[in-house]
């Protein structure tokens, strides 16, 4: 069994190659985004490209350490590391430094350190440990709550900072749960809720609620409920609505239209419930439940949008959805970003020849908007290449995860895959105007030590587990 002992042979060199490609290309673009023609040397450590180079070296040292550690170290210390993470996230709220309106940084001797970047990694470890523990079944309510808590605890702490972007990444772990047997129905519900979320932003809820009701009626009919019953449910909603509207027309301002709609739908639902009990129709229960959740969701999203989101966050969402067009205002970032990428053309302006990114038209051009530099200087070819590298990495990691004998390794692998998908999709999506501007970095690419180290650790811990897969029995 020489293969088993030879770690070098068991490492997935293809993934390592992808990592090297992304990291090197990323560093080149950070260099280009920060250097002005004729000044500075490649190794100017006061500049971002110089600092990033140091972080690259640190990453390599960390990789070596990971491969020196025993693979059992990770599942064994998963909870402990997770605990430390939670404590750190609490600490940053107290001792952290506020940068850009979020208290998410430790500043130690000139170095800035962002614990939320590492929190994802340790959450993935803890989640893998939990889900792989003996006798753990996801369908069980208690286990769902446990899994949910592991995910939500850091997410909530990060939300308090507040760093909405990083917080949203934690929703990525739903994908992990999905892979591990999270019920399909809940995924469907989740998708419906996401769609409803967008619609709620676009349309007033007074129009959405009746539409939900009508769609529900159609779905009920599709699930082979007798037409007569469907008509009863329909009538149960229409009648009170009609009566109330009639009263209001005759001048008695009893209540608002919103209340009329809610009362009518409630009446209709009540009737549906009665029919469901009589018919003992399971699907009808589910539909009623789904509808209740949807309506509550719409109402709460509407409330949240109007009462909790910051003005600029609302604006960004609106601009992305095309509700508002304001190139000099909120849409400025996206517009400048699109201009930069668009101006690259098919083959780009060439390395170091970008004007848009270098002249600071694009905000955050070496962190969140690094993809602009790629688009401008390397054109469609370069930008597509980066997209392809990421897709290849995701697909490769899925294949690697599936070949794990240990559940822990597989679940951890999917944890990384999920986070990677979300970061990649949201980051590239926002620079080309497909997503709202949510400030999360492009893995391996964006400037920033915390991000680079966290993602590198995240990946190489998995590669370490993978290289060790043959030593583990199922």
């Amino acid at each position: 069994m020489t293969r088993r002992d030879n770690i070098l042979l068991n490492i997935d060199w293809f993934t390592v190659f992808l990592w090297v490609a992304l990291v090197v290309f990323g560093w080149m673009n950070i260099y280009s985004a920060n250097i002005m023609k004729g000044d500075g040397t490649v190794m100017d450590f006061s500049q971002r490209y110089g600092k990033q180079f140091i972080w690259l070296l640190v990453s390599i040292i960390l990789i070596l350490i990971i491969f020196l550690l025993d693979a059992k170290f990770f599942p064994f210390f998963a909870y402990l590391l997770y605990g430390i993470t939670i404590v750190t996230l609490l600490a940053v709220l107290v001792f952290g430094k506020e940068i850009n309106g979020a208290k998410s940084w430790f500043v130690i001797g000139g170095f800035q350190f962002q614990p939320s970047e590492f929190a994802k990694l340790f959450t993935a470890l803890a989640l893998a440990r939990l889900l792989s523990s003996y006798g753990f079944v996801l369908k069980n309510f208690k286990s769902l709550v446990l899994a949910g808590s592991i995910i939500l605890a850091p997410a909530l702490l990060i939300m308090v900072q507040p760093d909405l972007g990083s917080m949203m990444v934690y929703f990525a772990f739903i994908f992990v749960l999905y892979r591990e047997g999270f019920p399909q129905n809940l995924m469907v519900l989740g998708s419906i809720l996401i769609i409803l979320f967008v619609i709620t932003l676009l349309v007033e809820k007074i129009y959405i609620l009746p539409v939900i009701w009508i769609i529900a009626l159609i779905v009920i009919k599709l699930f082979k409920v007798p037409l007569k019953s469907v008509l009863y449910i329909f009538a149960a909603g229409i009648l009170p609505a009609g009566i109330l509207v009639f009263f209001m027309q005759s001048g008695q301002q009893v209540m608002g239209y919103e209340s009329v709609i809610l009362i009518s739908i409630a009446a209709s639902l009540l009737f549906a419930l009665i029919i469901a009990i009589r018919l003992r129709n399971n699907n009808l229960y589910k539909i009623i439940a789904g509808m209740v959740i949807s309506i509550l969701f719409v109402i709460s999203v509407d409330y949240a949008i109007n009462n909790t989101l910051k003005e600029h966050q609302k604006q960004r969402i609106y601009v992305t959805l095309g509700i508002e067009d304001d190139p000099q205002g909120v849409g400025y970032n996206v517009n400048q970003s699109k201009i930069a990428i668009g101006s690259g053309g098919f083959s780009g302006k060439g390395f170091l020849n970008g004007t848009q990114t270098k002249l600071q038209f694009v905000p955050e051009q070496s962190t969140d908007f690094i993809f602009c530099t790629v688009g401008e200087e390397w054109g469609f070819i370069g930008a597509s290449a980066v997209v392809i590298l990421f897709v290849l990495m995701i697909v490769r990691l899925v294949i690697l995860s599936e070949r794990q004998r240990s559940d822990f390794s597989r679940i951890y692998g999917y944890g990384f895959i999920s986070v990677l998908i979300v970061h990649f999709t949201v980051n590239v999506g926002m620079t080309i105007g497909l997503f709202p501007v949510i400030g999360i970095p492009l893995p391996f690419f964006s400037y920033g030590g915390s991000s680079l180290l966290a993602f590198t650790l995240f990946l190489f811990i998995f590669l370490k587990l993978d290289s060790n897969r043959k030593e583990l029995l199922r």
Binding site: M36, F175, Y178, R179, E180, G181, Q328, Q336, K338, I339, A340, I341, G342, S343, G344, G345, F346, T355, Q356, L359, Q360, F361, G375, G379, F380, A383, S384, V387, I388, F390, V391, I394, V395, V398, S401, E402, D407, R410, Y414, I417, I421, F424, T425, V428, G429, I432, G433, L434
Partner: protein, 610 residues
């Protein structure tokens, strides 16, 4: 836990779908859509335009006619405007808050980014103060603009004026952008490209804060500013001014040409306009006011007014008759106060009779030229009147009539020499003869000729058979300007020898005994050759016309004078022409009595009428 194995495909599918969506979007953004490239250039470059000073205009003797004065426009680029002390700004410019906001909004409506005019041509004193304080007013800049000034208030019709470019200018020539100035009319227009120079351009790289980082691509796209070139025109400022004063009481035109070169020495259209009125902020309203004037002072009569030539045209008919061989210098006709033929009667005045050709011109005998015209039109050498007419017409048009002469000057009109087909249409083919068109024998009827064409005809006679296309340009940038077009001799179809008796007749018309029609134009020691004319005017009093050149041998000046609604050519046009010739050839006018007579022209006239 292999139950959910299939779900791995969902992950792979998601990754691939996202990848495809991104690549498609990138393709649209980077390869299909072009507008982002343009935006990128606008984004990162700042174009700083430097305006050249406009070329000066001198007269033939080097006297300055048009120069520049400094004027400044206050420009604004709304996107760069940030908070500042508006009170100070407004009080400097002398405007109120509402006015300020109105102007700013107008600029915003035009463009947020592009500079546009906030306030036009602020006074120099204000501009000087603003220059120092400009740093306090972010987004505002001062832009120097050419503003013309005219040391002598003369020749406005020739010089023309400059005004802001209109939408059409901008579209037809991408040199111009909004707020630029362009020659609207006159020399300013015809030599626009010489005078304007070339705008300079400096392209800078700027960053998002509009800070200039340095020259763009090491100044590869910079263009140096080229100042406008000075020109000298052929006008003689002294003569121009003198002629303008003489024309003061009248409506009409004086055009003088140097026959040997075709250079226009004087070009007056009365009433004149002080060119200093045609500058600055109020140009638009001034133009409006002048356009409404019933005397139409903006109408350049010298090149645009089309009158019948009257008796001056007898010279042409004499030349055609001689050339066609239908008459000789000895051909004589008896005149009994007019020409009678088949019930047609063309009246004539009292003079010696019978007269030969020279006498006919000297006395301007209508009968004589009706007979000449009959001979021309009934030429036995040709088949019919139409053929004769066409030969006549060819001779006439060889003098430059009926077509634009091709001056270096805009807005010239063609005049009219009717064609045979015109009469065919009117009377039907073969149903017209010399009698039908007899009025052209004495320069009336359908003939229409502009003063510049008339002056050119006079120059042609002075040259005994050719003309050089009249022009105004003399020098560009101090170099003699020799345009092929303005050197070539355009020979008429008339032999040089045939001009001799006509010139003699014109000599006698001025210097002959009693009966000579233009004795008032006589100048001691100078042989002036002239011919009077009276253009019938259906709208009112006849127009007074006089053409003349001098000296008879080696002519230095040929001119045509039109005075509207003042009757016989000898009354006003001849003395004016004579005075201009005297002034030009001798440098001074000794006949002050004649000068006074002309200067009080209209008033004398009115007094007698009363």
């Amino acid at each position: 836990m292999k139950y959910f194995d299939n779900r791995k495909y969902v992950f792979i599918a998601i990754a691939i779908i996202i990848g495809l969506v991104f690549i498609t979007k990138l393709f649209l953004l980077q390869v299909v859509e072009r507008s982002y490239k343009v935006s990128a250039e606008n984004n990162s470059q700042r174009h700083v335009v430097t305006y050249p000073s406009r070329g000066l205009i001198y007269d033939r003797n080097g006297e300055l006619l048009v120069s520049n004065q400094a004027a400044y426009d206050v420009m604004v680029s709304p996107v760069n405007v940030s908070e500042f002390d508006t009170t100070e700004f407004c009080s400097l410019l002398g405007i109120g808050r509402d006015n300020f906001l109105e102007r700013l909004n107008r600029a915003k409506n035009y463009s947020w980014r592009i500079n546009s005019v906030f306030m036009k041509q602020v006074e120099f004193k204000i501009a000087a103060v603003l220059h120092e304080k400009m740093y306090k007013f972010p987004g505002f800049t001062l832009q120097s603009r050419p503003l013309r000034t005219y040391p002598r208030p003369i020749a406005s019709h020739v010089l023309g004026y400059i005004g802001e470019v209109n939408e059409k200018n901008i579209q037809s020539d991408d040199y111009y952008s909004a707020g630029d100035y362009i020659g609207v009319i006159g020399i300013e227009k015809s030599y626009e490209e010489v005078l304007r120079g070339e705008k300079g351009l400096k392209v800078y790289l700027k960053d998002v804060h509009n800070r200039i980082i340095g020259p763009y691509e090491e100044g590869k796209y910079d263009m140096p500013v080229k100042v406008g070139r000075d020109i000298a025109i052929s006008l003689d400022a002294e003569i121009q001014e003198y002629a303008e004063t003489l024309m003061q009481p009248f409506i009409g035109s004086v055009v003088a040409i140097e026959p040997s070169s075709g250079e226009i020495l004087t070009m007056v259209s009365a009433p004149t306009v002080n060119p200093n009125l045609l500058i600055g902020r109020n140009l638009g309203s001034t133009i409006k006011k002048l356009s409404a004037d019933t005397l139409n002072p903006l109408f350049n009569r010298a090149v645009m007014a089309q009158y019948p030539p009257g008796s001056t045209f007898k010279t042409i008919n004499a030349l055609v008759g001689l050339q066609e061989g239908v008459i000789t210098t000895e051909t004589s006709y008896y005149c009994d106060y007019g020409f009678y033929y088949r019930g047609i009667h063309v009246g004539c005045h009292n003079h010696e009779t019978p007269l030969d050709l020279i006498g006919g011109i000297q006395n301007s005998c209508n009968t004589y030229f009706c007979n000449v015209f009959r001979r021309i039109m009934e030429n036995p050498g040709y088949e019919n009147t139409e053929e004769s007419f066409n030969h006549w017409r060819d001779h006439v048009t060889s003098f430059g009539f009926g077509e634009k002469l091709g001056l270096d000057f805009a807005s010239e009109l063609k005049g009219n020499i009717p064609t045979a087909s015109y009469y065919d249409r009117y009377y039907s083919k073969g149903h017209w003869n010399f009698l039908t068109i007899l009025s052209m024998a004495i320069g009336q009827g359908e003939l229409l000729i502009t003063p510049i064409q008339m002056a050119n005809m006079t120059a042609t006679i002075a040259n005994r058979g050719y003309y050089i296309t009249p022009h105004l340009i003399k020098k560009i940038d101090g170099q003699d300007h020799i345009d092929e077009e303005f050197v070539r001799r355009n020979f008429t179809t008339i032999d040089s020898s045939n001009f001799v008796p006509v010139v003699d007749g014109m000599d006698l018309a001025v210097n002959g005994g009693p009966g000579s029609t233009a004795r008032i134009a006589r100048i001691r020691d100078i042989t002036v050759c002239g011919k009077t004319g009276t253009a019938e005017n259906p709208h009112g009093e006849d127009h007074s016309i006089f053409i003349a050149f001098a000296p008879k041998d080696d002519p230095k000046i040929a001119l045509a004078v039109y005075v509207e609604n003042e009757g016989f050519g000898g009354t006003w046009a001849a003395p004016i022409a004579s005075l201009v010739i005297e002034k030009y050839l001798t440098g001074e006018v000794k006949r002050t009595w004649l000068e006074n007579y002309v200067r009080n022209g209209n008033t004398n006239d009115e007094e007698t009428e009363e």
